[in-house]
Symmetry: C2
Subunit: 234 residues, 2 copies
C-alpha cells in the first residue's frame, strides 16, 4: 500500500513536470512570436537574428518532451485521462514547434523588409495581426494549464477574427501592388508574413481542440465551431 | 500459455490493422494530390469539386486511426517498438491530414485559376512540382510499409529538389508580375498553389523522420540531412 502510494505520487509528479515543460515551451514560443513581430515593425535586425537563433531551443524542447511522454507511457502505462494527457501533449508540442517555425519565418521576412522602403505605419497591420495570434497562443496555453474548455472555445473563436484581419491585409497588399508595380516584391514579403502569422492562429486553434479532447475525451477536430461548442456543453 | 499466445496474435492483428489503415489513408491522400493537380492543369472544375468534397474522408480517417491507436495503447500497454509504432502512426496521420488540407487548397486555387486567362503550358510547372511531391508521399508510405529507413532517407533528400523547383516557380511568377501587372492576381494564385505543393513535400519529409524514429528509436528531426544519414547508418 505504502509503495503503491509512493509510485502514484511519483507518477503525479512526472505528469506535473510534463505539463510544466509544455507551458515553458509555450512561453518560449510566445516570446518568439512577439520578438519576431517587434523586430519586423521596429526594423530591429539584431532582434530578428536572435529569434532565428533561438528556434533551436524550441526544437530541442519538442524532442525532449516527446521523449519524456514516450517514457512515461512505456513505464507507467497510464489509462484513460492520463493517457489522453500524454497524447494531447505529444500533439500540442508538434503545433508549438510549428508555431516556432512560423515565428522564425516572420523574423526572416523582417530582415528582408528592413532592406526595402519602409511604410509610415511601420507595418502596423502586421503588428496588430501578430499581437492577435500571440494572445491566442497565450490564452490557449492558459486554457491548457487550467484544463478550461470554455476558455479553449473562446480562443478557437478568435481564429475567425484573425482570418478576417488577414483577408484585409491581403486585399490591401494586392491593391498596393496593382497601383504601384514597383512595390510588388515588398508587398509579396508582406503577404508571406501575414500568411505566417495567420498560420499561427490555426495552430493555436489546434491546441484548443486537443484541450477539449483531453478534458471531454471527444475529438472535436474538423467539425466546425458550432458543433464544437455543443460537444463541450454536452 | 495458450491464452497468452492468443492475446499476442490478436495484438499483432491489431497492429497490422492500424498499419493498413494508415496506408489506405495515405493512398487516399495521394489520390487527392494527383486529382487536385490534374483538375488544375486540365481546367476540370468537377474534379476540383470532388477533391474538395473528399477532404472529409481524409479527416474521418485521421480521427478513426487516432482513436484506434489510443485504444490499443490503453488496452495493450505496448512497450518499446510497438509503442513507438503507435506514436509514429499518431504523428504520421497528422501530417497526412495536413497534406489533405493542402490538396484541398490546390483544388480551390484550381477553381479560381479556371476563371482566369490560361497559359499555353496549362501550368505545366505546377503539374511537375505536384507530381514530384505526390511521388514523395507515395514513396514515404512505401518506406513506412516496409520500415525501410534507407528509402526514407531518399525521400527526405527529394525535398531539396522540390524546394529548388519551387524557388524556380516563384521567381518566374514574380518576373511575370513585374513585366505585366495585369497578371498580378493570377500569378498570386500560382504562387499560393506552388506554396501548397511545396508544403506537401515538407510533410512527406516529416513522415520519413517518423519512420527513422520508429525503426531506430532515434529522433532525427531538426538535425539536417547529413546527420540524419549518419544516425541511420550507426
Amino acid at each position: 500500500m505504502e509503495r503503491r502510494h509512493h509510485i502514484s505520487q511519483q507518477f503525479d509528479a512526472e505528469l506535473e513536470d510534463v505539463r510544466n515543460r509544455v507551458l515553458s515551451m509555450g512561453g518560449l514560443v510566445e516570446q518568439q512570436i512577439i520578438q519576431a513581430i517587434t523586430a519586423l515593425s521596429e526594423g530591429d535586425a539584431k532582434l530578428a537574428e536572435l529569434v532565428i537563433d533561438n528556434d533551436i531551443k524550441v526544437n530541442t524542447a519538442e524532442v525532449a518532451i516527446d521523449e519524456e511522454c514516450t517514457h512515461i507511457i512505456a513505464r507507467r502505462q497510464p489509462a484513460a485521462s492520463d493517457l489522453r494527457l500524454m497524447i494531447a501533449v505529444i500533439k500540442t508540442i508538434t503545433d508549438l514547434e510549428r508555431i516556432g517555425d512560423q515565428a522564425e519565418r516572420i523574423a526572416r521576412m523582417g530582415l528582408r523588409l528592413m532592406e526595402k522602403e519602409r511604410p509610415k505605419n511601420n507595418y502596423g497591420e502586421l503588428r496588430h495581426l501578430g499581437e492577435l495570434v500571440a494572445a491566442m497562443v497565450h490564452d490557449a496555453l492558459d486554457a491548457f494549464a487550467r484544463m478550461d474548455i470554455d476558455a479553449a472555445i473562446e480562443v478557437a473563436k478568435q481564429d475567425l477574427k484573425v482570418d478576417q484581419e488577414y483577408d484585409g491585409v491581403m486585399r490591401q497588399a494586392l491593391t498596393f501592388m496593382m497601383e504601384d508595380p514597383r512595390s510588388i516584391s515588398r508587398m509579396l514579403d508582406v503577404m508571406w508574413t501575414a500568411r505566417a502569422i495567420e498560420r499561427i492562429g490555426d495552430h493555436a486553434k489546434n491546441i484548443c481542440e486537443y484541450i477539449i479532447y483531453l478534458v471531454k475525451g471527444k475529438d472535436v477536430r474538423h467539425i466546425g465551431l458550432e458543433k464544437m461548442e455543443k460537444a463541450v456543453k454536452s
